[in-house]
């Protein structure tokens, strides 16, 4: 395995002037899992194809360890790839599928067989080794496809392209666990491409958020969730996303906002205060400043119903998680447990 470095990597498709990837800089430590998160059209697939060697960067350098692999094709790149849906050879048994990449690279039959069985046992595929893909469940098929990509011992990088998309929801968690424990045990360098933030934030040790061909922010999942670099990231990450109030509004002469702080932010015209629903606690009050305008039940907590509540105060609207019986039109003040301070201006230029 190797560390992966993107050094000022750009890409545009031949005949177009607008780059799909713009000056990407990224370093992924050897043996870690990195998630590339972005909406469709963000450039995820292009970046994935570049990492796998199907495309070469238009400018900049791509390094695996110390080696510049920018112009090395997919066959010689030493990359394994797991696709969105199970890609297996239909006429071969699972065992033959697993042995195929090894035999093609000059492994001896006996050793290839041993290695294939070893990986299959670790991924709990031993019972279905003799079956063809048509005899497997979707979960087993994708597990076999993952096993096929992990069977080689000489790969520098394992790329995962939304590998859980096709799997039954109930099995996603299990597949993710298998994958994660295999990664830790063998110290694999993995890049996990997804549009699903839950997958990205729970699977990877580092997350990069991609938008319009740029990396907006790279950090640990906690970092990205709690300290988004700008308004776009705060809104994109989390479900629902962050809501914002200009910090300056707290200190202006206008009517009070009805927000209760343990420690209010400082007056700074240049910052936004970002607040997530679970960081707010509504306090019912007849002369409260916020009015309840929407309500969605999300579960129960200690026997009380737990709802996502939308409160409005003039132009501002905030979401809060509330317990108990709330009705539209109820009035409240909002206690802010924590908040994030972000620059008011977009920071998307940081990578260029």
């Amino acid at each position: 395995m190797a560390a992966i470095t993107l050094d000022q990597v750009s890409f545009n498709y031949p005949g177009t002037t607008e780059p799909v990837l713009k000056n990407l800089c990224l370093h992924i430590e050897d043996g870690t899992t990195h998630a590339l998160l972005g909406a469709s059209g963000a450039g995820k697939t292009t970046l994935l194809n570049m990492l796998s060697g199907l495309l070469s960067p238009s400018s900049g350098a791509l390094r695996f360890g110390d080696k510049n692999v920018s112009t090395i094709g997919a066959r010689e790149r030493n990359v394994a790839l797991v696709f969105q849906f199970p890609v297996l050879y239909e006429t071969k048994s699972v065992l033959d599928n697993l042995m195929f990449p090894l035999l093609n690279r000059g492994w001896v039959m006996k050793e290839a067989r041993g290695r294939a069985i070893e990986v299959a046992e670790e991924l709990e595929l031993a019972d279905v080794l003799h079956l063809r893909p048509a005899g497997l469940s979707l979960y087993q098929k994708q597990l076999a496809a993952i096993a096929k990509s992990l069977v080689r011992t000489d790969v520098d990088l394992v790329l995962l392209d939304e590998p859980l998309t096709a799997v039954e929801p109930a099995m996603k968690w299990r597949l993710r666990q298998r994958l994660a424990s295999f990664q830790v045990e063998h110290g694999l360098t993995m890049i996990y491409v997804t549009h699903d933030q839950t997958e990205a934030l729970t699977f990877a040790s580092q997350v990069s958020l991609l938008s319009e061909g740029r990396i907006l922010q790279t950090g640990t999942p906690e970092d990205i969730y709690n300290h988004p670099i700008d308004r776009f990231v705060g809104d994109f990450i989390g479900s629902p996303g962050m809501r914002f109030i200009p910090s300056a509004r707290l200190h202006s002469d206008q009517p009070p906002l009805g927000l209760l702080f343990a420690e209010p932010p400082e007056r700074d015209a240049g910052t936004l205060m970002g607040i997530r629903a679970e960081w707010l606690t509504p306090q019912r009050s007849a002369d409260g400043i916020w009015e309840l305008v929407s309500k969605r039940l999300v579960g129960t907590d200690g026997g009380q119903e737990k709802s996502l509540l939308g409160f409005r105060n003039g132009d501002f609207e905030l979401l809060a998680e509330g317990l108990g019986n709330w009705c539209k039109g109820d009035r409240a003040n909002l206690r802010v447990q924590r908040y994030a301070l972000l620059p008011a201006e977009p920071q998307t230029a940081i990578t260029s």
């Binding site: 790149r77 990359v79 696709f83 050879y89 093609n104």
Partner: protein, 290 residues
């Protein structure tokens, strides 16, 4: 829904099809079967002869020769057209304007009436004025399909390949188009050779359409009539007389209705048998695939 209560009205929906099939296939076939067991002297004088005509037909050496030629022709046609069609389909670009143009070009032979195809090749292969025949003559190769049996066979095969390979190309191309690019990507990462890609990715996906292609070509080539009739008229000698042409000679030329009817029934059963053998072999093979 009550499972016990039967609603038979659905049969009404099937009725039109049953009627059409009855009129277009079953009744004519039964008429032929009826003729095949009678000696028809004139419209009012008919004698029941049992299986006499069948015995006579099966013992007819000219028919046996025609059957041999027929089987050889069908085998050659399939052996040439299927691999050639697959090769052309593999060589086609997967998208773009060139592809659309090529697909239309390939569809053209399929749209030409069969007797016109025969006429085209009759002229095309003529040694005096035909582009192909005259070119061969010019190169010093004496080519005359009207007098040389081998030349007649080559011309017939070339005509059939020209006429029908497109069908295999179009079917195979449809099969290839259904393969997701990810399979090729995965094969590249597995360092698979071109042959392995064909053997393990493309061929398994083509099996279904190739079954259809072989079946269609088998049925059609076994029943070929118009093109050789126009091109060679069965000659020189009887060298390109296939089953259908021999049948037509018997039924219309000599007006031997009884033997011709027996011949027809045997012919029909033969085509049915060959297609059934092929189909069950393939389906059985698919069964063991799983």
């Amino acid at each position: 829904m009550n499972g016990q209560k039967q609603d038979n009205r659905a049969w009404l929906g099937v009725l039109p099809v049953l009627l059409i099939v009855a009129f277009s296939a079953v009744i004519p076939l039964m008429t032929v079967v009826n003729y095949s067991v009678q000696d028809i002297l004139d419209i009012n004088t008919r004698l029941f002869v049992g299986f006499e005509w069948y015995r006579e037909t099966l013992g007819d050496t000219r028919l046996q020769d025609a059957l041999g030629r027929q089987l050889l022709f069908s085998s050659l046609v399939i052996l040439i057209e299927i691999p050639l069609g697959i090769l052309i389909a593999l060589a086609l670009p997967r998208e773009g304007r060139v592809l659309s143009f090529l697909l239309i070009l390939f569809a053209v032979p399929l749209l030409i009436p069969w007797n016109v195809v025969g006429t085209i090749w009759q002229i095309f292969a003529r040694g005096d004025i035909g582009l192909l025949g005259a070119s061969l003559e010019f190169l010093g190769i004496s080519f005359n399909y009207a007098s040389h049996p081998l030349h007649a066979w080559i011309t017939l095969l070339a005509m059939d390949v020209w006429h029908w390979t497109s069908l295999v190309v179009l079917l195979a191309f449809a099969g290839l188009s259904s393969i997701a690019p990810a399979y090729y990507q995965a094969a590249e990462l597995d360092d698979a050779s071109r042959w392995q890609i064909f053997r393990f990715i493309e061929f398994p996906r083509l099996k279904g359409v190739l079954t259809i292609a072989v079946l269609l070509r088998l049925m059609d080539s076994l029943m070929i009539y118009t093109e050789p009739f126009v091109l060679t008229g069965g000659g020189p000698g009887n060298s390109t007389t296939f089953l259908s042409q021999y049948l037509a000679t018997k039924a219309i030329g000599q007006f031997d209705l009884g033997p011709a009817a027996a011949f027809s029934v045997i012919y029909f059963l033969l085509v049915l048998l060959l297609c059934w053998i092929f189909y069950t072999a393939v389906v059985k093979d698919k069964g063991t695939d799983q």
